[in-house]
Amino acid sequence: MATDIKNLVTWPDDGVSRIPIQIYTDPDIYGEEQQRIFRGPIWSFVGMADEIAKPGDYQTTYIGDTPVIVLRDLEGEMQVIVNRCAHRGNLVCIAKEGHAEELTCVYHNWRYDLQGNLKSVAFGKGVGKQGGMPDDFNREEHGMQRLKCEVYAGLVFATFSDEVAPLTEWLGEEMVENIDRVVGRGMVLLGTYSQYMPNNWKLYMENVRDSYHASILHMFQATFRINRLSMKGGIKLSDGGWHHISYSIAETDKEEAEYDSKKLRAVKDGYTLADPTLVKGWREFDCGTTLAIQSVYPNFVVQQISNSLALRLCLPKGPEECELMWWVFGVPEDTEEKRKIRIKQSNMIGPGGVISMEDGVVGGWIQRGTKRDQDKSTVVQMGGRGIEPSAEGRATEVSIRGFWQGYRDCMGV
């Protein structure tokens, strides 16, 4: 049944620095991705543990395009179960979230416990000695599919794979460190929303890892002369390039303080913000990090932009569509004032974000631009051809190449 992927696509020469355009549209490749990536050796983010707090609480979401239920069982353990009845495949949980003591399929009333074990089959013994399941029907062989699940810092991850390393090992030390920093203090959910995009999911994930475009496509800061005097920045890539962090650090406390006191360079005929409090924040982290965009392979993002904290998950919805789910959060120790700053800064992000709205639109333009040129490839060679991380500068596409390294590893192309 395994398709020979090499028959589906020929990867151009030049390693991970040329990307065949076909893989953004081809339905067969999309199908292989579901199998080899989303059901392959990765951990998928499926939700916030705090939002599924009590035994019996559940939420429904997706791993790739497979529907799953994330729940807390009666012992208080997180479980992730494929949302597919073992009988005829009906969705067992319909609601986005809810509470249940057991999982009951509405179609023919097969009942499962919160670990997915089949407990009973309606009319299993027949009606009036007529019908019923065969004598050799064994309930134990007909449970719902339960996935391996791990919770780290309140983030719930699951995997279809038996081979993948334990979560933190798979992430690597540097990646775990950043997760600790951003979400390790606990999360208070401030809002959720989604952004539906007319492009392949990988185009969005390339965008997330594209440090080259940041100051070019997004004109908000340049237009309003919002510049920091000097900034140290760089890129961290996990071994093999799968995960990445792109970061900036204010050089000194003083500089950050100056910035905060509205030292926004107003150039003569530039525009200025009528209300510059939008970009006023506080020094939240001792390390001075003012920006850190982290992508966890393949489709999860942990974001710190000043004091705006968010998680993003890019769900594939067919070859040419995807849905970006956002969780915007603060931390339990936030004062009212800090909470207000976070709310204000949320204007920079999301589908209506003055800085990031463009990220929602370029993918669709690429999709349209390349439609008739499936045999061509894109060029990802800024900063070299390989995946050596660079501590200096952001004029590089190394993180994108890291993504493709992970892609080729999983897909076998």
Binding site: G191, T192, P198, L273, A274, D275, I343, G352, G360
Partner: protein, 168 residues
Amino acid sequence: MHGGLIVDGSISAPGDVRQLISDLIIEYAHAIDDDRLESWTDFFTDECSYRIINRENHDKGRVVGIMDCSSKGMLQDRILALREANVFEPHTYRHIVSGTRVVGQEGDVFNVETSFLVVRTMQEGDMAVFCTGKYIDEIVVAGSTARFISRIVVCDSNRIDTLIVIPI
């Protein structure tokens, strides 16, 4: 005044006040649809707020929306950013607003709710329902003028297609 209908929250208000409120809501929609966005801020009082939030967040009492302007300056900045900075494919809206009702009053400040539907037309002609929902407004009526003190745009769907740059 409801003729014995069971209503949830509507109160009566004088006809001329209703007219002013209704005019404000209708003129606001036309200003956006006609691309007179520089006049958008004029519909608000000097101290004002504007927020777009989805129904789920709003019902759960969550605070972060898709746009959140807590001052008139922020409203201005949104429009300036749209004109000068943000990159997007040109498009227009058509607002259909209806069913305005007054649900509260304190002095000259009225709490008002109105349903809306926004159809978005892209430059190449693609048209789609972009957003439906309900405006939850605080409107001050002084003499012959009405202005928004606060406007909360509650969208029925959690999803925004591609991006939102023009206010609703």
